[in-house]
């Protein structure tokens, strides 16, 4: 299960991308800006590559990433 990203909280530092062992994440630029300095945020662009290791969640500087809890067995 790939992590979910809180885009409002993400500061686009790139820590998660550096620690991801399977290159499942990348930085995406926000479009609505008149400045040439763009706000970036993390995006899961290869969810199938995620190995569910949780390193990105552990290292995120601003707690913008989270892993969904496994659903309880019936």
């Amino acid at each position: 299960m790939p992590p979910s990203v809180d885009e409002e909280r993400c500061i686009g530092c790139g820590v998660c991308i550096r620690v991801c062992p399977s290159s499942a994440l990348r930085l995406k630029a926000e479009e609505a800006s008149s400045s040439e300095v763009r706000r970036l945020y993390c995006e899961v662009y290869r969810p199938e590559a995620c190995v569910d290791c949780g390193r990105c969640v552990e290292e995120c500087l601003v707690k913008a990433l989270s892993l969904a809890k496994p659903s309880a067995q019936p």
């Binding site: 500061i11 530092c13 790139g14 550096r18 300095v37 970036l40 500087l61 707690k63």
Partner: protein
């Protein structure tokens, strides 16, 4: 377990914020020019480097208590900069700027989280004044912009917000001087500053503070640097505030980006300083250093914190040095280095101690008195500030002469 979140704050002496309020100051009339400043105010502001004539300045921003009384470009900027780069430098109040440019909402309170600690929460909720500075692509503002903050109202919480956006290839130098009216006995100066440095841009931020006992200072600085960009911050305190907490945090996200954070101060009386900085390297080939040097006298306490975290091949250096001048002075250094990649090189040097008796004896054997020998050693300690811009050397010299008085 290691705490998560940006390490911009959460340190330093705690105090009761409810004793201070952001709305106790009267509204002031705007000034047409800095020359309209009263003689007394002018005198205080000049102690932190304000040039009323705006000589050698690109522009000025003045906030008295909670009112921004003057914002404007200097004659040089109007004649030279505006003709060369029309609209290339924007300086305005953040409240107006966010209405004019709604896209700014994506940048405001992005790097310094609102819920970081009680200071950032209150700064965000009650922020009044501050500045938005926007330098457009390729615009080189060679002369510094001066931003001055004066506190005159008793028990005021002065909480400005500063946002700086330097677009690719631009250059900006800010001299921020913060000072109080000596008649005011206690107040808080808390400021949130967020800086975005674009590709190949350079931002130099010089903070000159002059606060006396009874004042609490909490500037929170968060910086993001893109590829090839550079951020340089120099902090000098020439007063004797009750407490200071300064921990700028720079994220070097771009390839080949650079950051230098330097602090120089004399801690005396019963001051409590908690000063340092953090560099987070996520861009390959990024480099930077955090240098803190303090002379600690009286019954004061200095805590120096430095954090270097490498997630990519990078080079970082951390230096925390304190020189103790009295038996009751206290200094603590917390260097924190963490590398998640084998190709990063992080180094540190920390030193806390008194002046070696052997060094004093050597100088005394050359004909100097004990006081003179001590002064020479302190001068050497504070002067070894390589990389400091020449414009700041005068401030370091002032610190040296203040320290000499402390020794005599």
């Amino acid at each position: 377990m290691e705490r998560r979140g940006l390490s911009i704050g959460r340190y330093g002496l705690d105090f009761d914020f409810t004793e201070y309020a952001p709305n106790v100051a009267p509204r002031r009339s705007p000034l047409r020019s800095l020359r309209d400043l009263g003689g007394v105010e002018r005198k205080y502001l000049e102690t932190v480097g304000l040039s009323v004539e705006e000589e050698g300045r690109a522009g000025s921003h003045l906030q008295q208590d909670t009112t921004v009384t003057y914002t404007g470009l200097s004659r040089w900027a109007k004649e030279y900069l505006e003709s060369r780069y029309p609209g290339g430098l924007v300086a305005e109040a953040p409240e107006e700027a966010v209405l004019k440019h709604p896209w700014l909402r994506s940048f405001i309170h992005r790097l310094v989280p609102i819920d970081l600690d009680k200071y950032t929460a209150l700064c965000t909720a009650y922020s009044i004044g501050g500045a938005f500075i926007w330098v457009k692509r390729g615009v080189k503002v060679d002369l510094p912009l001066q931003a001055c903050f004066l506190i005159e109202a008793e028990r005021l919480a002065q909480l400005p917000y500063i946002l700086v956006i330097a677009e690719p290839g631009s250059k900006l130098n800010i001299v921020s001087g913060c000072v109080m009216n000596p008649a005011c006995t206690t107040a808080v100066h808390g400021c949130i500053t967020e800086v975005f440095v674009g590709e190949g841009a350079e931002v130099v931020f010089n903070l000159i503070h002059n606060f006396k006992r009874g004042f609490h200072v909490r500037p929170k600085v968060g910086v993001m640097v893109d590829g090839g960009g550079a951020y340089i911050e120099n902090y000098i305190e020439v007063g004797e505030p009750t407490s200071v907490q300064l921990h700028p945090t720079v994220i070097l996200r771009g390839e080949g980006s650079r950051a230098d954070l330097r602090s120089f101060f004399l801690s005396r009386g019963r001051s409590n300083f908690d000063v340092g900085g953090a560099l987070i390297f996520t861009g390959g080939g990024a480099r930077g250093e955090v240098v803190s040097r303090a002379v600690v006298a009286g019954e004061s306490t200095v805590t120096m914190r430095g954090v270097l975290k490498a997630y990519a091949p990078s080079r970082g250096h951390l230096e925390c040095r304190s020189l103790l001048l009295s038996d009751k002075a206290r200094a603590v250094a917390y260097p924190n280095l963490r590398s998640l990649t084998p190709s990063a090189s992080l180094t540190h040097e920390a030193a806390v101690g008194r002046i070696e008796e052997e060094h004093i004896n050597y100088l005394m054997s050359r004909g100097l008195s004990r006081e003179e020998a001590t002064s020479v050693i302190i001068e050497g300690f504070l002067s070894a500030s390589k990389g400091l811009p020449p414009s700041l050397q005068g401030w370091v010299d002032r610190l040296i002469s203040m320290t000499a008085k402390e020794v005599m």
